[in-house]
């Protein structure tokens, strides 16, 4: 089943809304960091700027993902979503590692500084609320559309929320006289973010490596095993391209059948799969003569017993 145009427009609308929200937060934090003498707030301002860049990159990738296949990219541009997620997650990991090393070095080398003005908490509170909205909105749409880009944007929003929370704690802590508190919190937060981003990165890598879920293969087998003249299934491969799954099947049918009959069987298989598995967009079927099975020493019973 194709995702409706209405849903596709919604996915772009989400990113546009988040882009304007992040621009607003960046400007707000920039103004406050100028007046409030807060190192944490300066760091968070840069983080908001990074979010603006991330949203622009995702908008570009979402536009490209919907382009029709052409001679250069015969399977379409769908995988750009996984690629963008992977690259953004890698950059986040590099930033987190740098941030943690920097916080640790600062913690052990610099002396106590003057605390930031408490008013610096205000933009962070606004950022916290905005981050929660962004996270809920993008993860809801991302799950419905199975879009890895939107799920990564949701993760970035969550990271933003965590950073805002950390800055608030740091400002309060330093004003209460606990001068190294913000560094300790930064290290803890860094570890949490690293864990979440690493999981998202791993998922993006799996999709880029054409990971095939067992559940798809099992469901397809169950759908087609009763179609007449199918003697066995040699192989089922699936891979994910931008919310669409492509399935490649290798099917045994009697070798003495004419091609016309074989093509009828192929059409029945495709109809059955596309009707009952709406997440599969394309099916390609290779027919193998059943008599070849004995030469390959292939055990048919084992296939249907799995």
């Amino acid at each position: 089943m194709e995702i409706s145009q209405h849903c596709l427009k919604c996915s772009k609308r989400v990113v546009w809304i988040l882009l304007f929200l992040n621009i607003f937060l960046f400007v707000l934090k920039l103004i406050f960091s100028y007046f409030c003498n807060s190192r944490s707030l300066i760091g968070d301002t840069l983080e908001s700027l990074a979010n603006v860049a991330i949203d622009i990159i995702f908008l570009l990738s979402l536009s490209l993902a919907d382009k029709e296949p052409n001679d250069k990219f015969q399977y379409g541009y769908g995988k750009i979503e996984f690629l963008t997620s992977g690259i953004i997650n890698l950059l986040l990991i590099l930033v987190v590692i740098y941030f943690m090393i920097f916080s640790f070095v600062e913690m052990i080398t610099i002396r106590n500084e003057n605390p930031s003005d408490m008013i610096a908490i205000l933009p962070e509170l606004i950022s916290l609320v905005a981050g929660q909205f962004s996270f809920k909105y993008s993860s809801c749409v991302g799950k419905k559309l199975k879009s890895s880009s939107l799920l990564t944007i949701a993760l970035v929003s969550r990271v933003d929320m965590i950073c805002s929370g950390a800055v608030i704690i740091a400002i309060i802590g330093t004003n209460l006289g606990i001068y190294k508190f913000d560094h300790i919190i930064s290290l803890f937060i860094g570890a949490l973010i690293f864990r979440d981003v690493a999981v998202d990165l791993k998922n993006a890598i799996k999709e880029l490596m054409d990971y095939s879920l067992d559940t798809h293969s099992t469901e397809i087998k169950n759908l087609i095993k009763n179609i007449g003249d199918i003697k066995g299934i040699k192989n089922i491969k699936t891979r994910n391209i931008n919310r669409k799954i492509l399935a490649d099947l290798e099917i045994y049918i009697p070798g003495e059948l004419a091609l016309a009959k074989g093509l009828e069987i192929v059409q029945k298989i495709k109809n059955e799969i596309l009707l009952h598995k709406p997440d599969i967009a394309e099916v390609s079927v290779q027919l193998i003569p059943f008599e070849q099975q004995e030469k390959l020493n292939y055990k048919l019973k084992q296939v249907f017993a799995e």
């Binding site: 001679d71 250069k72 990219f73 015969q74 399977y75 541009y77 995988k79 750009i80 996984f82 690629l83 992977g86 690259i87 890698l90 950059l91 590099l94 890598i205 880029l208 490596m209 054409d210 990971y211 095939s212 879920l213 067992d214 293969s217 192989n235 491969k237 891979r239 391209i241 490649d248 049918i253 009697p254 070798g255 003495e256 059948l257 004419a258 091609l259 016309a260 074989g262 093509l263 192929v266 390609s284 079927v285 290779q286 027919l287 193998i288 003569p289 008599e291 070849q292």
Partner: protein
Amino acid sequence: MFKIKSENRCTACVRKVSWIGLWYSFVLSLLKGFVGIISGSHALMGSALYSFHDVVSSIAILIGLKIFTKPTTKNYPYGYGNAEYIVSVFISIIILTATIFLMYNSIKLIFIDHKDVTLHWSVVLAAAFSIFFNILLYKFNKCAFKHLNSPAILTHAKHLMADAISSMAVILVILGTSLGIHSLDPLAAIFETVHLIYLSGEILIHGCTGLMDKAIDKKKIVSIKDILADVSGIEKIKTRQVGRNINVELFISFPADKTLNEIHAISNKITETIKNNMKYIGNVNVIYV
């Protein structure tokens, strides 16, 4: 020095050379970095960054060699060929990030800090050492690429040559500073970073397009059509590069009254012909239309 008899021998050779290259580049990056920091030479620090790239890309090749030779599994039925592209993309991003950092510091040195750098003769030694060994390793890796067609190995070879060139630039800087042109050092560093950004960008684009299932170039598609000149009914040819191998899908219409046995024999012959006449062919699927 190495007698190449089969692909397994090639892979073993590349693995050996990659380990040697890794340790050599690691030592060289430490040496250049240390001498660069002590002497204050940004150009040499930039050159140390090139060697650091080589360390990272050697690690990438070793990981790639381990992963992409793995057989297909249930969860990865198309194989692990794309691991090479993933590794290339990640290396280029790490390198780009470090390079932008160095560029920023070099620009700051020229326009804000206005520091004159006086360089030491040890810089020349470090640079000369780097030129010699990088060119040697470059030749090994070019040979390995010819035999294994691995994008990661080609990437690494380009890095090694870039490292050698950057070390030549360092020697020019020494000559320049001895003639009193002190701003040559940060300028050379900026030039190196621009070149590194270009190299890394090239590798990033190559890796990204590979991961997006880019089709093979038109020349190779024409070769496939020439090989299959005697086969009628070819409606469409779809290809995609998966690591060093090419996956081909042929959409062929056969006479409807032919039996599957007859057609299957023909398509086996087609597959065999393509694999015998073209290198690095992975899967060939013949789809009957």
